[in-house]
């Protein structure tokens, strides 16, 4: 069971990395903001799987904090990060 | 620590402390400044008088202070030191008087007199230094305290002269320092001692000691204005007259010459120096300087410039005397340290008087000035004759001993060279005297700033110092054999320190 959890965690990690590639490519800044969402859910899933892998239930607390902080990060990103047009290297593709 | 140990410090403090106070005085406190200046100068003379008396009665005045575990700051008031100290203190007193008159009403006097006092402190330190390290400390302080005096006027020309002065003296100081540290590395100490400390090293260090000698002499030669290290001196005549007087007669060039005396006699020892074949090259350099300075003086129309080249030439008499192996040469050289000082300061005082009173800076403008300013011109003439080595003057005594020394050292060419130099001296001084006395004065003076008032042809404080020094020039020549003459004291020095 433990190894199975670990396997799935690795799978989700790979999944996350592939998805990040997309996020990094944009084309709009909104697409990049998706990273916050992606990290939130996938991260929590991976952490929980790992928590049940090696009897390190402490990782649940990490997942909990992670979920909370991911929410805040996403909110900050959406509210604040996309304000300086032309300052960052990215340009809105569609707008 | 006993009183004798503190005495050298008091001598230093007598100009340092007033200097520091004066530096921070507001410009308007003229009376307090003058009082401080004169009190310091008189106090210093009294202290030195006491020490002169003491040295004659076998007292010794030594102060030691450890700067590093095995490196001391040493002040030693030996006979040679006192000779120089007395000269500086006496001339400082006169120059202070002169400067008070000279600078009356001009700006930045607190700054001027502050650095002026520092400068004398440094000179006294150089004189009383008991080892090379201490000597170097004050030698560099002298550089630093004279720079503000050279650039005092704040004109572009003054600043340029200051720059040249710095480049020469700081570079010289650096070379000097290298020599000192090297020697210190070899000896573990650099105390001035009879017969020299270097002699303890023996001949296997010949090459190193020769290089070190070269470094030391090169370092000192800058201030002593040895050709080819003399370039700064003619430039520095841009400074106010009292400063020039101080630079040329008392402080800077003398510090160099005095240092060479110490090096030859008390670091290497005259015999050891002779063994290492160091004296002959030095004599040749000194001779070249003497002739070169005189020749260049001939072509100068600017009075202070001509005097400056004259200084280059005359200071090397001292060095020449040192290199003449034997007591007569020593006496001639060392006594010229004093004599040249007295005579040259007279000349600069007078030059300052001409410039301040009548606006005369050039020799071609001096026609007939003797009638308008008789006292100044008499003083000038006396000093000029002294420089030429005329009998009854101090210069005669110096030359007499130098020529004797040359003969005793069997260096005939030196006698010839001295004769030639004397002729050259005459060649550049006599025309001035001729203009002063034998050409009629013009209708108006260039820029008559100070009117004649009865007996006073100029400001009293400008007049007294050159008259006094001219009188001393005569006195030192006429009364050379009495117990109060410089010659007597120099003989004492030579007896106590160099002759077994």
């Amino acid at each position: 069971m433990n190894d199975f959890n670990l396997l799935l965690a690795v799978f989700l990690l790979v999944n996350l990395i592939i998805a990040l590639l997309r996020v990094a490519r944009g084309p709009t800044d909104a697409d990049r903001l998706l990273a916050a969402l992606l990290f939130g859910t996938t991260g929590v899933a991976i952490l929980l799987l790992l928590a049940f892998t090696a009897d390190t239930l402490v990782l649940m607390d990490v997942a909990l904090v992670f979920a909370l902080l991911a929410a805040i990060t996403g909110a900050v990103f959406a509210q604040r990060a996309w304000r300086m047009e032309g300052v960052g290297e990215g340009k809105d593709g569609n707008s | 620590m006993n009183f004798n140990g503190i005495l050298p410090l008091l001598v230093l403090a007598s100009s340092l402390v007033p200097g520091m106070i004066i530096f921070f005085l507001p410009e308007s406190r003229i009376r307090l400044r003058t009082t401080l200046n004169l009190t310091g100068a008189i106090l210093k003379l009294l202290l030195i008088g006491y020490m002169l008396w003491g040295v004659q009665h076998d007292q010794s005045y030594v102060f030691r202070y450890n700067v590093l575990p095995d490196l001391e700051l040493v002040f030693k008031a030996d006979a040679l030191a006192l000779l120089f100290v007395t000269l500086s203190a006496a001339l400082w007193f006169l120059t202070t008087l002169y400067a008070i008159g000279y600078l009356e009403g001009s700006p930045h006097r607190s700054r001027f007199f502050g650095f002026f006092s520092f400068c004398v402190t440094a000179t006294v330190g150089v004189a009383m230094a008991g080892n090379l390290f201490t000597f170097f400390v004050f030698y560099e302080l002298l550089t630093l305290s004279t720079y503000p005096l050279v650039v005092h006027r704040g004109t572009e020309a003054a600043i340029r002269a200051g720059n040249i002065y710095l480049v020469y003296t700081l570079a010289g100081g650096a070379v000097f320092l290298t020599g000192i540290v090297w020697l210190y590395g070899l000896l573990g100490q650099v105390e001035f001692t009879h017969g020299g400390v270097a002699a303890t090293l023996g001949l296997e260090y010949t090459a190193q000691l020769q290089v070190i000698f070269l470094l030391l002499i090169a370092g000192l030669g800058v201030k002593a204005a040895l050709v080819p290290l003399h370039g700064w001196l003619p430039q520095a005549m841009i400074a106010p007259a009292p400063v020039s007087a101080l630079l040329h007669a008392v402080a800077v060039v003398k510090a160099g010459a005095f240092g060479i005396i110490r090096i030859v006699y008390e670091v290497y020892g005259i015999e050891f120096a002779q063994t290492l074949n160091l004296l002959m090259p030095l004599a040749i350099v000194a001779s070249i300087t003497i002739i070169w300075g005189s020749l260049r003086a001939l072509w100068q129309d600017d009075l202070k410039r001509r005097l400056a080249y004259s200084t280059i030439s005359q200071v090397s008499y001292i060095i020449l005397g040192v290199t003449l192996f034997g007591p007569a040469g020593t006496i001639g050289g060392v006594v010229h340290l004093v004599h040249q000082g007295i005579m040259k300061i007279t000349l600069f005082f007078c030059a300052g008087n001409y410039a301040e009173t009548l606006g005369i800076h050039k020799i071609s403008e001096m026609n007939g000035a003797g009638r308008r300013m008789p006292w100044t011109s008499i003083a000038f003439s006396v000093a000029a004759f002294g420089m030429m080595g005329a009998p009854l003057t101090a210069g005669y005594i110096s030359k007499l001993y130098l020529i004797q020394g040359a003969e005793m050292a069997e260096m005939v060419w030196v006698s010839w060279m001295l004769t030639a130099s004397g002729l050259l001296n005459a060649a550049y001084f006599l025309p001035i005297l001729y203009r002063l006395w034998f050409i009629n004065q013009p209708q108006t003076w260039l820029q008559e700033r100070i009117r004649a008032q009865g007996r006073w042809e100029t400001h009293g404080l400008l007049l007294i110092p050159p008259v006094v020094t001219a009188a001393v020039t005569l006195g030192a020549g006429i009364f050379a054999d009495t117990g109060w003459s410089p010659l007597f004291w120099v003989k004492l020095v030579a007896e106590m320190e160099y002759l077994p």
């Binding site: 300086m84 300052v87 960052g88 290297e89 | -």
Partner: protein, 108 residues
């Protein structure tokens, strides 16, 4: 080679990337990011080397926690400064030449 050493090696790679980025990247935010990558690399090496014999060692873990806080503080300060620079100059980059290094020969 134990698993911990893999962490340490990855840390080494991150460290080098971070250093290179910190030096070469022109954009200041990327420099700050590179600094964080560099820091993470060091932390990985610290923890990885610390427990390469299998037992986790609390000391490097504590040190890494301290290090993270320091890195956060530094990052915050850097961001505040960059932001200020942006509001002053409108750019998130260094001006072309550091003052005084290039022009000095011409000025005299």
């Amino acid at each position: 080679m134990s698993g911990a050493l893999i962490y340490a090696c990855a840390g080494a790679v991150l460290f080098v990337f971070g250093v290179t980025g910190l030096i070469l990247l022109p954009h200041l935010l990327r420099k700050i990011l590179a600094f964080n990558i560099m820091g993470s690399g060091v932390f990985l090496v610290l923890v990885g080397l610390g427990q390469r014999d299998g037992t986790p060692d609390p000391v490097p873990q504590a040190m890494v926690l301290t290090g993270i806080v320091v890195a956060v503080a530094a990052t915050a300060l850097a961001l505040a400064l960059v932001r200020r620079l942006l509001s002053l100059t409108g750019k998130i980059q260094f001006p072309e030449e550091p003052e005084g290094s290039g022009r000095c020969w011409k000025n005299k």
